[in-house]
C-alpha cells in the first residue's frame, strides 16, 4: 500500500464522517508532590466524527508531549507524555462564532519525575480546550466547501493522575489545522 493510498484511507474515511486535525504547540506541566515544572513541544492528531445531535463531534486522537524540566535540580531531559484522547470537540466552522470547546478523557503513558527519580507509568486524566478559529468568518452560504482546512489556536488545560502517586496539571497552546467537509453536520 502506498503512503498516498494509506493517507487516503486514514483521512478520507473520517473526513466523510467529520474531519481530521493536526495540532502543533507547546505545553507546560506541573507535577505534585515532586513540585517539578516542565515545558516542551506537543503534537496531536485527531479525527472527529459527527455522530450526535449536538454541535460537537465525537473525537479521538493521540497527543504526545516532550517535556524539559525548568528550575533547579535533576536531569533536564527525558520526560514525555503520550495520551489517547477520547471525547467531544466542537471546532467552529467559518459561519459559526469563533470560539469552540472540547473535552477529553486522556488515558496514557507518562515518563515523569517523582521524588525518587524518573519513572514510566500509566496515567489517566482529562483535558479541556477552547479552539479559537483563526481567520475571517464567512457567511453560511460561503462556507459550504466539500473539503476545507481551517486553522485554530487552541488553549487547553488538563489534569491527570500519573503512576498512582502524582498529580500532573498541564496547560498548553497549540496551532491546529482541521480538515473538514460541509457535508457532515
Amino acid at each position: 500500500m502506498t503512503s498516498i493510498n494509506l493517507w487516503s484511507r486514514l483521512c478520507v474515511a473520517p473526513l466523510l464522517l467529520g474531519g481530521c486535525s493536526y495540532s502543533l504547540g507547546g505545553s507546560s506541566s506541573y507535577l505534585a508532590p515532586s513540585k517539578v515544572a516542565s515545558v516542551g513541544p506537543s503534537s496531536r492528531v485527531m479525527v472527529d466524527v459527527s455522530l450526535l445531535d449536538i454541535d460537537a463531534n465525537v473525537a479521538a486522537g493521540i497527543e504526545t508531549q516532550q517535556l524539559t524540566r525548568i528550575g533547579d535540580g535533576g536531569d533536564s531531559f527525558g520526560q514525555w507524555r503520550t495520551n489517547l484522547l477520547l471525547g467531544l470537540s466542537h471546532m467552529p466552522r467559518p459561519h459559526e462564532f469563533m470560539l469552540g470547546y472540547e473535552a477529553f478523557l486522556s488515558p496514557g503513558l507518562s515518563r515523569y519525575y517523582t521524588t525518587s527519580g524518573i519513572e514510566l507509568s500509566p496515567s489517566f486524566g482529562g483535558m479541556i480546550g477552547m479552539p479559537i478559529r483563526l481567520g475571517k468568518g464567512e457567511r453560511t452560504w460561503r462556507s459550504d466547501d466539500l473539503i476545507a482546512i481551517d486553522a485554530y489556536l487552541v488553549p487547553s488545560f488538563g489534569a491527570a493522575w500519573v503512576g498512582f502517586d502524582s498529580l500532573d496539571a498541564s496547560a498548553g497552546l497549540a496551532l491546529r489545522f482541521h480538515l473538514w467537509s460541509a457535508m457532515t453536520p
Binding site: D144, L146, M183, T184, P185
Partner: protein, 735 residues
C-alpha cells in the same frame, strides 16, 4: 432478532442515529359508502409561497446540495381543493425537492377541522434547488444530505403553516367547477432515459409506448425512445364562465432537474418554468384583452405532478438556469397544447378516493401463485454515491464509489446484489426512522382517470406496470377508469423504485431502491388492490387481510437527525436601505441583462415573503408595475392581465452577499426574456425592491437609454458573488 442485528441497532442507537420518535396516530376516517357515480363538484385553489430566505440548504444532490444565497424563482405549493357532496381531497403539488410524512401530518394537523390526513395529497416536483431541513428521516437531514446537514423544526413549521393557510384559503374560495382531462401520447424529443442499460434488462417486458417514437429525435438516440410520452392534463374551470379558469394539473414523466449541483439559488427548476408558462397562457386565454378583466383577481394555478420519471431526464447539456428556462418553456408549450378547451369541462364527475398506510419493511406480497416480500430494512447501494449519470456527485472520484460494477452477486440476502454504501457504516441506515418506512398509499379517481399517489420515483417500466395493474384490476366494473397515472413523490419519499429486472444493474436508481428488488412488485400489488377496492369487495378484503385499514393515519416513526438553525429569523435590526448601482450586461443577439445592487436589511428581516419583493415598474408617478402584453399585435393588445415582471416569475436572480457598512448587500440580476424585453423596449422602467418606504429603486432606463455597462466586478457580483476585497469599490462608504 439475530445477535448481529441487535448489535447493529445498539451501536447505531448509541451513536445517536437510531433514536427514533413517533408521530401519534390520528383517528381513522373510513371512506364514505356513497356510490361510485358522478357528482357535482366544487373546487378551490390557492398558492403558498414556501420560498425561504438565504442561508438554508437546497436538497436533492446529496452531499453536493449547496447552501442557498438567494432565489431565481419563488417556490410555491399550489393547492387544489376538491369537494363533492360526499368526498373531499386536497391535492397540493409543491415546488419542493421531496415530500415527507412529517410535513404531511403537520399540515393535516393544522387543517384538522377541514381535512383528515387521508384527504391530503402533497406531492413534490423534485426540484433539486428547493429547500431541505424539513424531513423526519435522519438520512435526509444528517450526514451527506446537503452541505448544511440538519433538521430545522422552525423551517418545517414555516412550510407547514404556509401550506395549511393556503388550504384554508382554497376551501374558503371553493366554487362550483367543471373538469376536463386532456391527453397527448407524443411527448417526444424533450426527455431521455438516463439508465438505458437497466431499462433494457426488462427485455420484451419493458414499457413500450402506445405510439411509436418520433424518428426525428430518436435517430441515433435510443435513450430518447425509452421514455413515457404520455401527457395527462386535468383542467379545472369555474362552472360560471365569467369567473374564468381555476387552473390545471399536468402529469408526465420527467425528472425535472436541469440546474447543476453548484447552484446556490432556490428555484423550482424546469417544473417552475412550466407552471409559470401554463399559468400565463391560462390567464391570457381567459382574458385576452386588457380591459374586461383587469380588475379581477386572475390567478389560475398550474401544478406539475411527476409520474414514472425515475429514469427519465430532460434533454439538457449545460445545466445552467438559462437552459432550465429554455427546457421548461418548451415543455410548457407542450403541456399547454395538451390542455382541453374549457367548454369540454364536466360539472359532474366521478370522484372517489382510498387511503391506507403501511410499513414497507418486510411487507408481504401474494400474487401469481407466489409469495414475495420486501426487505425488512432499507439499504442504499454504492451506485447511489456517484449520482445519476446526468448529475454525478463530486465524491464520485473516490475509488470506493467509482469502481464498477457496484454489485455483489455473491450476496444472497434480500438486498442482493446491492453493495451497501460505506460498508459496515450502512448499518446506521437500518434502524427505524433513518429512512422512511411508514408509507401513505392512496388512489383517487377523478372522472375516468385513476391517480396512484406513490411515495417514490418509479422508473418508466415500473410505473407502467403499476398503471397496467390498476386498469386490469378495475376493468369491467361500472364507472371504472379508462386511464391510470402515477403521482410520484406523494406524501413521503423512499427514493427510487426499479423493476426486478432493472434492480441488479445497481445504477443510481437500482442502488436507491431502498427496500430491495420486490419493491416494484409491492407497489404494483398494493395500488392494484387499492384501486380495485373502489369496486370489488374482494380487493377490500385482501387489504384487510394485510391489516390495512382504509382511512387510517397510523403511528409514524421519525428521526429528525442533527439539529440546525437554517431558517434566518428576524433580528429587528433595520439598515439604511439604499440603491447603490444598476448597470447593464449587454450581449449580442439577445436581450441585455441588468445588475442592480443595494443595501438592505438582513435575510431574516427583509420583506421577502411579502411578494413580489422585486418588481419592474414604470417610471411614472405611481410607479405602476409593468404588465406584459404581446407587443406588435393589433389593438386591443393581447395583454397578460396578471402577468407582471417581478420575482414571482423566473427573470430575477436575487442574492444576498455580505454585511457592508452596517447593512446587507443584495443584488439581483434581471434577465428579461425576449418577450419581456420587447415589451419594455419602448418604456422607461425602474427596478424596485420592496414596498416599504423609503423605496429602493434603480435609476430609470429604457432600451435607448441603458445604464452604463457593468464593470467586471459588478458583473461578478450579480452572477457569482463578489470577492470581499471588491466591496470597497462596489459599495463606497457613505461617509
Amino acid at each position: 432478532m439475530r445477535v448481529g442485528s441487535f448489535l447493529s441497532l445498539f451501536v447505531a442507537c448509541i451513536l445517536g442515529t437510531a433514536c427514533a420518535r413517533h408521530l401519534p396516530p390520528v383517528a381513522s376516517m373510513p371512506p364514505t359508502n356513497a356510490p361510485h357515480v358522478a357528482a357535482s363538484l366544487e373546487v378551490g385553489t390557492a398558492r403558498a409561497d414556501v420560498t425561504m430566505p438565504p442561508g438554508a440548504s437546497t436538497f436533492g444532490h446529496g452531499p453536493d446540495a449547496r447552501i442557498a444565497e438567494g432565489f431565481w424563482t419563488r417556490t410555491y405549493c399550489r393547492v387544489f381543493y376538491f369537494e363533492t357532496p360526499e368526498r373531499k381531497l386536497a391535492l397540493v403539488p409543491c415546488e419542493l425537492p421531496a415530500m415527507g410524512a412529517l410535513l404531511q401530518r403537520r399540515v393535516a394537523e393544522k387543517v384538522s377541522k377541514r381535512l383528515h390526513p387521508s384527504q391530503l395529497m402533497i406531492t413534490a416536483v423534485h426540484t433539486h434547488a428547493g429547500v431541505g431541513h424539513y424531513f423526519g428521516a435522519s438520512q435526509y437531514t444528517g450526514i451527506f444530505s446537503s452541505r448544511l446537514p440538519g433538521y430545522d423544526g422552525a423551517l418545517m413549521e414555516a412550510i407547514a403553516t404556509r401550506v395549511a393557510d393556503a388550504i384554508e384559503e382554497a376551501v374558503m374560495r371553493k366554487r362550483p367547477a367543471k373538469l376536463s382531462w386532456g391527453f397527448r401520447e407524443d411527448f417526444w424529443c424533450h426527455t431521455r432515459n438516463r439508465s438505458l442499460d437497466a431499462y433494457r434488462l426488462n427485455g420484451s417486458n419493458a414499457y413500450a409506448p402506445p405510439v411509436p417514437a418520433s424518428a426525428e429525435c430518436t435517430k441515433d438516440h435510443p435513450e430518447r425512445a425509452a421514455i413515457d410520452p404520455n401527457m395527462h392534463v386535468l383542467r379545472i374551470d369555474s362552472l360560471d364562465p365569467t369567473l374564468g379558469p381555476l387552473g390545471s394539473i399536468s402529469f408526465f414523466a420527467m425528472h425535472p432537474t436541469v440546474v447543476h449541483n453548484t447552484n446556490q439559488l432556490f428555484g423550482a427548476d424546469t417544473a417552475g418554468v412550466i407552471s409559470r408558462y401554463v399559468e400565463r397562457e391560462l390567464r391570457r386565454a381567459w382574458c385576452p384583452t386588457d380591459a374586461p378583466c383587469s380588475e379581477a383577481r386572475v390567478d389560475p394555478l398550474h401544478g406539475v405532478v411527476n409520474t414514472n420519471e425515475g429514469d427519465i431526464s430532460p434533454i439538457w447539456s449545460a445545466g445552467h438556469i438559462d437552459e432550465a428556462i429554455a427546457v421548461g418553456t418548451e415543455v410548457g408549450q407542450f403541456v399547454w397544447s395538451a390542455h382541453p378547451s374549457a367548454d369540454k369541462g364536466k360539472g359532474s364527475v366521478v370522484f372517489d378516493t382510498r387511503y391506507v398506510e403501511e410499513n414497507i419493511r418486510g411487507a408481504k406480497i401474494s400474487e401469481q401463485g407466489g409469495s414475495f416480500q420486501t426487505c425488512d430494512y432499507p439499504e442504499i447501494g454504492m451506485g447511489a454515491a456517484r449520482g445519476a449519470n446526468d448529475h454525478p456527485t463530486s465524491v464520485a472520484f473516490i475509488p470506493w464509489f467509482s469502481s464498477d460494477p457496484p454489485t455483489d452477486f455473491g450476496r444472497t440476502d434480500c438486498q442482493a446484489p446491492k453493495v451497501p454504501m460505506l460498508g459496515v457504516l450502512s448499518e446506521t441506515t437500518k434502524p427505524p426512522g433513518a429512512f422512511p418506512s411508514d408509507l401513505p398509499l392512496a388512489v383517487a379517481q377523478i372522472d375516468d382517470v385513476m391517480i396512484s399517489f406513490v411515495p417514490a420515483e418509479m422508473t418508466v417500466t415500473a410505473g407502467f406496470r403499476l398503471n397496467q395493474r390498476v386498469l386490469a384490476r378495475t376493468a369491467g366494473f361500472a364507472g371504472a377508469p379508462t386511464r391510470a397515472v402515477i403521482a410520484g413523490l406523494s406524501n413521503e419519499y423512499i427514493q427510487y423504485i426499479t423493476t426486478e429486472e432493472e434492480y441488479p444493474n445497481q445504477d443510481y436508481e437500482g442502488a436507491s431502491t431502498l427496500y430491495g428488488p420486490n419493491s416494484s412488485r409491492y407497489f404494483t400489488n398494493r395500488f392494484g388492490l387499492l384501486a380495485a377496492s373502489m369496486f370489488d369487495p374482494k380487493a377490500a378484503d385482501e387489504l384487510g387481510k394485510l391489516k390495512l385499514e382504509f382511512g387510517a393515519a397510523k403511528r409514524i416513526t421519525v428521526n429528525y437527525g442533527p439539529a440546525v438553525h437554517a431558517l434566518a429569523t428576524p433580528t429587528g435590526d433595520r439598515a439604511e436601505r439604499k440603491h447603490v448601482a444598476t448597470c447593464t450586461m449587454p450581449a449580442p443577439q439577445m436581450p441585455p441583462r441588468f445588475c442592480t445592487y443595494w443595501l438592505d436589511d438582513g435575510p431574516g428581516d427583509v420583506e421577502l415573503h411579502d411578494q413580489p419583493w422585486i418588481t419592474l415598474v414604470r417610471d411614472d408617478a405611481p410607479r405602476s408595475p409593468l404588465r406584459i402584453c404581446a407587443a406588435g399585435t393589433a389593438e386591443p393588445r393581447q395583454c397578460d392581465s396578471w402577468g407582471f415582471v417581478d420575482d414571482r416569475g423566473d427573470e430575477f436572480r436575487t442574492r444576498i452577499h455580505d454585511k457592508v457598512n452596517g447593512a446587507w448587500a443584495w443584488s439581483t440580476l434581471f434577465s428579461p426574456s425576449l418577450r419581456t424585453w420587447r415589451e419594455i423596449a419602448g418604456t422607461r422602467v425602474r427596478i424596485r425592491v420592496g414596498k416599504r418606504l423609503p423605496s429602493v429603486e434603480s435609476q430609470a432606463f429604457a432600451a435607448d437609454s441603458l445604464p452604463q455597462e457593468c464593470k467586471p466586478a459588478q458583473a461578478r457580483l450579480c452572477t457569482a458573488g463578489a470577492r470581499t476585497e471588491e466591496w470597497k469599490d462596489l459599495i463606497p462608504r457613505s461617509d
